[in-house]
Each structure stands twice: as C-alpha cells, then as structure tokens.
C-alpha cells in the first residue's frame, strides 16, 4: 500500500514538472520504485513532489521573462492545462483549500467530527456537481427557475430558519445546522452572471431581500460585491438593478444590529489560527489564497468570460474579507460545510474551457476546442 502510494506520488510529481524538465520525472519515478523500504520510498517521492511543485511554480513565474522564446510546439504542462479549464482548476482548488482547512482544524485541536463534516461537505459538493452534469444541458429558462427557487429558499430561511441572537440565517437539517446563504448565493450569483435573464434577476432580488431580512451583513456585502463587479465589467440594466437592490439590502443589514458572538473554529479564524499553532495559521492563509486562484487565473486567461470570473472572485473575496473583519464564517478553511458546498457547486457556473483554449488548441492536447462558456445562447450551466 505504502509502496503503491509512493509510486503514485512520484508519478504525480512527474506530471507536474514543467515541459523542459519533464524527462526528470521518469527518473524520479523509477528511483522511487527501486527503493526497497516502502516508507523511505514514500519520503523520497514526497520530496520529489515538493521539487516538482517548486519547479512548476518557478516555470510559471518566469513565463513572462521567457516571453517569445517559448515555442508554440512546447508540450503543455499540467498547470497550463488547468489554467485553460476553469472548472477543473476550481475543483482542484476546492480540494486543496478544504485539505488545508482540515490541516488547520487538526493543528488547532478541533473535534474530530468537525474534520469529518468538512470532508463530507466536499464529497457532497462534488456529488451535486456530478449529478447536475449528468443531467445534461438545461436552458436559460430552467436556470432562471432554479435561480428563483434559490432566492425563495433564502427567504424561507429568513422566515422559518433557526433563530439566534437576533439573526435567522440557519437551517437545521437532520440535526446538522447549515447556513443556506453560503450554499445558495454562490450558484445563484453564477447563474445570474451567465444568463442575465429576467428570472435570474428575480432570484437575485429575492436573495437581496432575504439577506436583509436574516440579517446577514457578510453575505449581503458579498452579493453587492458580485453585482458591483458584474456592473463594472458588463453594465446593463438588469445588472444595475440587481446592484441597486443589493446595496439597499446591505444598507439594511448595516442599520440592523449584528451582535453574534464568535464561534470557535468558524469565526475569527484568521486571528486565532496562528495562536493555536504556526502551521494552523499558515494553512488558513494558504487556503484562502488557493480559493482566489481560479478567479485570478480566469480573469487573466479567459477574457471572453471575465464577467463570471469577476463575479466569482468578488463574491468569495468579500466573504473572506468579512470573516477577517467580523464574526462571520471563514469559508472553506474554517469549520462549516455550507461554504464548501457553495464553493464547489458554484464551479458549474464557470466555463469548462477558457476562451484562451480556442486560440491555443495544442495547449490542451486537442485538435479543436469548442468554447462552452457562453450561456447567452442558451447553453447549459451543467453542460
């Protein structure tokens, strides 16, 4: 088992190495396979993985310097391929950030069921993604209906959810307390960012109303930020309407008292993680940085789909900022299943392939690449 793991890790290292040094990956794999002691082989392979990650990062950092020296026939590397596949990149970042969150919870001494809860949420998120993708493409009207349903669920949470310290933003399901806004707002924003339909606009309006009712200052700010980012990149009547409603909703939450105490391992994590353990602090900060990699990569390498990347990035950036500034959940890396599910499911709103893949077909090893990022023509979010 350990030996097999060592070989898998070494093979992963070989795949991560950038093209100019990829031949060394086979050397690493063969070397790891030849070590008699399984534990030593695994340690050797893990070292190789660290080496490959550094080489890959260095290769990407020096890419602008190499500039025109790069040959168009250069073999693509894994990082390049991920950059051109926003959904895959976001899925990978969700796994890494959740893993770093588990590391934080471990180092900080959180109860074991917190770790299980976050891990289960990650699996659940991918199950939902898999199920939605298996249903095939759905039209803009269906997506709009889903957006309205999501908005209505948020309103239902405000009306019938669990009440605590003047706020009603939770829902208890099978004995587990969830925060629906963290699960539902991200996919709702992505549907609106991609369709801009009337129904999706109604869904966003319901969300703004619900967040004002709950009240949830952090998510209201995140909704406003996403709408603001969309308005900057793609100003149109519906986006500006949603932005105006989101601003009113946010103002309402600011005027209402919000005195919830911090919950250990959920809130104030940025402040407490380093005190718990230096590695816990590093894991938390690394996790939130990883969460922001997909929107940054999407913005830079997928110009045709900048609105969705901007909305995704603004939304999660403000959720993270709110966690740093107040007693609001630290998404994905802190204890809490809702944000993990929300982050993973929201990836369906991102294009499967970036627009840059169209002009660089060889970069992903395909003869032709079809852009599927545009829902305006009625393509599917889950397609």
């Amino acid at each position: 088992m350990t030996r097999r793991l060592a070989i898998v890790v070494a093979e992963l290292a070989a795949r991560l190495l950038p093209s100019p040094t990829r031949a060394w990956g086979l050397a690493m794999t063969r070397e790891a396979a030849s070590i008699d002691h399984a534990g030593a082989a695994l340690r050797f392979a893990l070292g190789c993985l660290g080496c490959a990650l550094r080489e890959a990062a260095l290769f990407q950092l020096l890419r602008p310097v190499r500039g025109a020296q790069s040959s168009s026939s250069e073999t693509p590397d894994v990082i390049d391929a991920l950059r051109l596949h926003p959904r895959a990149l976001t899925g990978l970042c969700a796994v890494i950030a959740t893993g770093l969150g588990l590391a934080y919870l471990t180092f900080a001494g959180a109860p074991a069921f917190y770790l299980v809860g976050n891990a289960v949420a990650l699996v659940l998120g991918f199950l939902i993604v898999g199920l939605l993708m298996a249903t095939g493409g759905v039209g803009e009207r269906t997506l709009g209906t889903v957006a309205v349903a999501l908005g209505a669920l948020l309103v239902a949470t405000a009306l019938f959810g669990t009440h605590a310290d003047g706020a009603t933003r939770w829902f208890t399901l099978f004995g587990v307390s969830t925060q629906p806004s963290l699960m539902l707002v991200p996919p709702l924003v992505m549907i609106f960012a991609r369709t801009r339909g009337t129904l999706a606009t109604c869904g966003m309006a319901l969300a703004a109303l619900a967040l004002a009712m709950q009240p949830d200052r952090a998510m209201a700010a995140a909704l406003t930020a996403a709408a603001g980012a969309l308005a900057l990149v793609r100003p149109d009547r519906r986006t500006l309407t949603v932005l105006a409603l989101a601003v009113v909703g946010l103002a309402t939450t600011v005027l209402r008292p919000d005195a919830l105490p911090a919950v250990p391992f959920v809130d104030r994590v940025f402040y407490t993680a380093f005190a718990a353990h230096p590695l816990a602090g590093i894991a938390v900060f690394a996790g939130v940085v990883v969460m922001m990699v997909p929107p940054v990569a999407g913005w830079t390498s997928d110009p045709a789909n900048r609105p969705v990347h901007a909305a995704f990035g603004a939304l999660w950036l403000v959720i993270i900022a709110a966690a740093a500034l107040g007693n609001y959940p630290t998404p994905v890396v802190g204890y809490g299943a809702s944000a993990i599910v929300g982050y993973v499911v929201a990836l369906l709103g991102l294009p499967r392939r970036s627009s840059a893949a169209i002009t660089r077909p060889s970069a992903v090893g395909e003869k032709t690449v079809r852009q599927d990022g545009d829902l305006r023509a009625g393509a599917a979010v889950a397609g």
Partner: protein, 100 residues
C-alpha cells in the same frame, strides 16, 4: 561572461559525494543518502548541474533482473573542477547513510 555564484551548502555536499564516488555512476537515492540531502533538494540541483554541463546523466541497466533502468549521474570534467573549487562547508559535510 558567466556569472559565478557561491554554491549552497547542499550543492557542495552533492558535489563532494560525487567526487567521493570516484567518478563512478550514482543513482538518485544513493546520492541523496551520501550527500545527506532530501530528494526535493537533490533533483533541482541535479537538473541545474546537468543543464550547466557539470553533470552527465544517463539511463543505466538494472543491477537486478526484473527492475527497470534507472537514471545515474556522474560529474563531468567541469563538474569535478567546480567540486574542487567548492568544497563542503565543515558543518555541512556529507552525512553518509542519513536517510533522504
């Protein structure tokens, strides 16, 4: 003009371990043990030494049947010169047998 930089203690240890091998071929794991450096440190050094012409690398047939060929390394003349000019720092001397 080639810019000369002081070599890191790990690079010096790797060079010294290869000199100690007497010009023979060394495999990665063996070299990491002789030099007392982990694989994550060793391979970037090997990659750069090979690119700069200080190191030869080639696939060597297995010593035991049923095993795949392995990459092996030895210093070139330029590499030997570099090793002589950059002996290991006293406290960073190679630790033969230290697990990688």
């Amino acid at each position: 003009m080639v810019r000369r930089r002081s070599l890191s203690p790990h690079a010096r240890s790797v060079l010294a371990a290869m000199v100690e091998a007497g010009g023979g071929w060394l495999h990665g794991y063996d070299l990491s043990r002789r030099a007392g450096v982990k694989s994550g440190t060793l391979y970037p050094l090997l990659i750069r030494l090979e690119a700069q012409g200080h190191l030869e690398a080639e696939w060597r047939p297995p010593t035991e049947p049923g095993r795949p060929p392995r990459h092996a390394y030895r210093l070139t003349a330029a590499g030997s010169r570099l090793a002589r000019e950059n002996p290991p720092i006293a406290s960073e001397a190679p630790l033969a047998g230290k697990p990688a």
